[in-house]
Symmetry: C2
Subunit: 300 residues, 2 copies
């Protein structure tokens, strides 16, 4: 086991974070946040979701946000697309990378996206067909890989099978999401070892929510397994719809602090990231969910 020398941080705050915040945020604030994040050294910032406003009103301004941000050189701004229509709308405003999603949990799939897992793969196939034709890169998300609020345990094999299908459909990277934050290091290791039998580690990312405080320990184990792509959200934005009041995505600041301590290069500037986290937390009028951010504020 040797840790990777560098890591790519995928900032999901503007999408996964803000879609789970109660407050509807003005488009200008979202654009400001993404522009600040673009100045931190981050190379991937998930900007928004081209989902119907009926489903996620928080992100109804997806086209305006995407068009309004100042695109940084060598920074990718993927957007989530749930279906062909979302993809077409994204293409119309010049999106270059999209993210698709499904889950190994049949119940979660039905309740979250109102279709079976098989149907979700058909939708994804429709998306990837068009995306491939348009030379749009596709990232795949799998939700609930370490546990489901309805089904409980999820088998690592089912995650591996589904991840393989997404790769076959044209995803360049699969992000394994512990959507409800129930994973612990041993289970994370078992999952990753199982998935890595089918997919090279270079094509895998981890996406932890810190609902039970386990995210950094799980990320450390993922690094030990050789994973070098980590999703996180500045200021720990977001929440958990299945545990009201619980925290959301693991905070980018806390992940970066660990990476810096491990001397793993990410290219991201901690001070600028902390500042972006304070900006959005101040706007949301909620406590910052990054311990690093809180501690650094306390020291200044």
């Amino acid at each position: 086991m040797s840790l990777p020398k560098s890591v790519k941080l995928v900032e999901v705050g503007p999408r996964d974070g803000l879609q789970n915040e109660k407050k509807i945020i003005p488009t200008a604030i979202k654009i400001d946040l993404i522009n600040r994040l673009s100045n931190t050294g981050l190379r991937v910032i998930e900007a928004t979701s081209f989902v119907s406003p009926q489903w996620i009103p928080q992100l109804a301004d997806h086209s305006e946000v995407f068009q309004g941000i100042t695109k940084g050189k060598n920074i990718s701004y993927p957007v989530l697309v749930p279906n062909k229509k979302g993809l077409e709308n994204a293409i119309a405003v010049g999106v270059k990378e999209v993210a698709v999603f499904t889950t190994p949990s049949e119940t979660f799939c039905q309740r979250n996206t109102n279709c079976t897992v098989a149907e979700s793969l058909q939708r994804i196939a429709e998306i990837t067909e068009i995306a491939n034709k348009n030379k749009i890169r596709i990232r795949g998300y799998l939700s609930c890989v370490l546990g489901c609020p309805y089904e409980g345990n999820i088998s690592s094999e089912s995650v591996a099978d589904l991840a393989e299908k997404l790769i076959q459909l044209g995803c360049y990277e699969i992000s394994l999401g512990d959507t409800i934050g129930v994973g612990t290091p041993g289970k994370t290791q078992t999952l990753l070892k199982t998935v890595m039998k089918k997919i090279p580690k270079e094509k895998l990312a981890v996406h932890f929510h810190d609902t039970y405080g386990q995210a950094l320990a799980n990320i450390y184990v993922a690094l030990e397994c050789g994973i070098s792509v980590i999703d996180s959200a500045v200021a720990g934005l977001g929440g958990c719809p299945y545990a009201k009041g619980a925290t959301g995505n693991v905070a980018t600041e806390d992940v970066l602090y660990m990476l810096n301590g491990l001397e793993i290069e990410s290219g991201v500037n901690l001070e600028k990231l902390v500042e972006a986290g304070r900006f959005i937390s101040h706007y949301l009028d909620k406590p910052i969910q990054s311990k690093v951010n809180i501690a650094m504020a306390a020291l200044t």
Copy 2:
């Protein structure tokens, strides 16, 4: 690297936690907290500190607390003693185990305890001499082992040397404390490997503060190194005097959740622990600093 099959949790909330809370807590509440903790399955609960009330007014009622608690069978209730006088007062009320402390940081030692490291060792020698005669077990704490608010980096060798001295003076176990929570997993591993060259891992404990959110990741690395004694505080009690507003000790609930996920036996009941954490946080009228506790509350 193989993880230990069982772990001893050392609950430090009533001492390290409450001494860093601003609010002065009535003796009856402290006793109630310790009695609740005694019912969780914990085998070691640090009850208080026999320090001068001039230094820590929060724990001025140390004798009353120690005498007032219902001692559980096979549970140890160590108390911190800074000097001979503290030890004598502790012996007078029937204490069976004490904890002594020093630090590899000369500056921290001078500012925190108003003496040099060499002088602190003399004080400890005075304590251990009397303690040994009275068949009182002695636990040793080293503060700031992964960084000092005044000196910055601390060498692992200096920690190892000092730990060895405490063992020679009669301590049965050395708890390595990341007092300001700046440690990250790589540095934790390096420290433990260095200390384990001089002291068998069975005699080592880790004591993390979660100031920068790194505690669980560091504890996981410590488990990988074979450490099987972990200090923690229910509800993440306490704070950090060097970063006002920052969080304190790693929360026992969060450590236990990780241990349970790793199938490492501790004998502690999570539900009862969560209840004790809610009791004291409710009394302190402060947000619970355990993500597991918050998430479990949100689910019920």
